[in-house]
């Protein structure tokens, strides 16, 4: 796109000088340069358009996420449903190390609910007064307890593949939430003639199509606490929303602060400009 704008800019410049008509001696050189300009613009245009340059994976379908845009913000009910999916499905294999149980207050869970979620897991603490390490239930201040003790244990339990930590998964993938959603809804039977290696699944959105993760979500894999009908599409959207929140927990604060700051700046700049006009009004220029 940038190239396109530039191409028009370059050729427009060429015309301007043509209009000026002040060139006497080097008309031929100028002509040659003008042709060069057009050629270069054409190359730039071709470069921007040529499909041969596409080095991305399969094209992603854009979803209409509620947090997009200047006024966009998270839907708390959706985040809670998304947490339910993480809690009942994803957390069996995927860690969420950057999130603490206390953070769940941001998406509307009560202190008692948070204590209960934390207490389901146990963490090693210590040493105590006797110098012994001991296990205790996790507290809201603890970070989410990972499902495996270490990466090796995770690989051993997952056919050699390492389920990535999900705290930043949305920000760490090209396409962000659209990519995560496409993976979760991209499982299908392999096309005729394609063999999928043992222990892997076919996924139309995954680069290379062979994915180590078995299909995690199907219709009614959870029963939503708020009564929402748990279709695959609904589940995929909800967990993606939750993972977007774990990637960008500051988004709501960021968007609302941005509105105030930009509103203020627009007024301030308008005042600056009016003052500039006033101050410069006595200058001939």
């Amino acid at each position: 796109m940038r190239k396109l704008i530039l191409s028009t800019l370059v050729s427009r410049r060429g015309h301007n000088t043509n209009d000026a008509g002040a060139i006497t001696l080097p008309k031929r050189i100028a002509g040659a340069i003008r042709s060069g300009t057009i050629a270069l613009a054409a190359v730039g245009f071709a470069a921007a358009m040529a499909p041969a340059f596409a080095d991305e994976g399969p094209a992603l379908e854009h979803q209409n996420w509620p947090w997009l845009g200047v006024f966009g913000k998270y839907d708390q009910a959706q985040l809670k449903r998304g947490f339910q999916i993480y809690h009942e499905v994803c957390s069996n294999c995927h860690s969420l190390k950057l999130i603490a149980y206390r953070n769940l207050a941001d998406i509307g869970f009560t202190p008692d609910e948070i204590k209960a979620f934390a207490a389901e897991k146990s963490v090693k603490d210590g040493p105590n007064d006797q110098g012994d390490m001991f296990d205790r239930p996790a507290r809201p201040s603890d970070h989410f307890v990972p499902p495996f003790a270490n990466d090796q244990a995770a690989r051993a339990a997952n056919n050699g593949a390492l389920p990535p930590d999900q705290s930043l998964i949305v920000k760490a993938r090209k396409g962000g939430p659209d990519y995560v959603y496409a993976i979760l809804t991209g499982y299908e039977d392999a096309p005729a003639g394609v063999t999928v290696p043992d222990g892997m699944s076919y996924n139309k959105a995954f680069p290379g199509h062979n994915i180590g993760m078995p299909q995690p979500l199907t219709d009614d894999v959870v029963t939503y606490a708020d009564g929402t009908k748990a279709t695959l599409d609904q589940e995929a959207k909800d967990i993606t929303a939750f993972l977007n929140w774990t990637s960008e927990p500051e988004l709501d604060a960021r968007h609302s602060m941005g509105l105030k700051v930009l509103g203020f700046l627009v007024v301030l700049t308008a005042l600056f400009y009016a003052l500039k006009r006033k101050i410069w009004s006595d200058v001939e220029h």
């Binding site: 940038r2 370059v10 001696l25 730039g44 340059f53 705290s167 930043l168 760490a172 200058v283």
Partner: protein, 407 residues
Amino acid sequence: MSEQTKFDNKIVQWVDDRLPVFTILKHSAVDYPTPKNLNYWWNFGSLAGMMLVIMILTGIFLAMNYAANTGIAFNSVERIMRDVNGGWLLRYLHANGASFFFIAVYIHIFRGLYYGSYKAPRELLWWLGLAIYLTMMATAFMGYVLPWGQMSFWGATVITSLFSAFPVIGDHIVTWLWGGFTVDNPTLNRFFALHYLLPFVIIGLVMLHLVALHTVRSNNPLGIDIKGPQDTLPFHPYYTIKDLVGVGFFLIVYLAVVFYAPNFFGEPDNYMPANPMVTPSEIVPEWYFLPFYAILRSIPDKLGGVCCMFGAIIILFFLPWIDSSKVRSAKFRPIYKQVFWIFLADCFLLGYCGAHKPEGNVVLLGQLGTAAYFAFFPLLWIIGKVEKPRPLPQSIAQPVLKPMEKI
């Protein structure tokens, strides 16, 4: 700065008699005679200065919460994003601030190219500007390594390994830069120390840049010298307010990105912790290095590529003597004016090539772009010899020669 000014305020006068800070300020920020015809392209110098201040202020507070250790660097940045009050704002201001600092500086440089601001008597002013640019590049490169994500680690590995291209001493230089035999904790530590130091070197260079500027005076869109007081305006209030208009517009764009697309300039891979065992499918530097990265990859020989990449910047130091035209502003140079836009387009083309995998047409385009980049300089010398510039106006105050002929 030779004679001192008299001030009404007794305390100000007392201080100024002993330390002439107020005289210096009045001389360089209030009375400084500025050409009256500067357009809005002249705003980007002060905007770059503003970005430097923003970068240093946000950087100091980030440094209070960052830990330069490979074991915890990545998580310390995420702690800033999640647990430090206002931390996400500091970090996004700083990360995007680097991009907008470069945007301001690139526009500032190309403005200088278009209006011939590098020509006599402004050669040293131009050199100091290039020194600032080079120091900025070093600072930005080392800053990008600090979050210790995948692109931090692999970018650092690729760029520092370039020095191994030099015969005999190359490998020793690389080991010396790394502080070991691979990019590791000593590398991260020294990069953090230097990343904190170099901005203050930039401040020093900026001061020299300003001293040089105020000695030779600002260039202007007509590229002709100031002939007398009728050509100038005092810097304050005329240009302080005009600069503030620019500040307003620039902040709107910068902060719109910070608040609504804070990862627009970033690479998703850098949100994965550095892993020396896994190479990303494509290693891309930050956007402001892409044209040079394209030049590097266009030369099939490693040493040749490294030399061309550094040469692409070094050659800019010779610009005041390569350009053989006595006329500064492209307004009066019909051929140069067009070549300038081609050169700018070529830099975008190289940026495009640097951002894409060197396969197929990208390689050829990159090589054509590299050839065009270096052809610009001898061409500049030739154009100055053959081009017939349009007649220059008598003075800034009387820019129109004849009533009929519009500039």
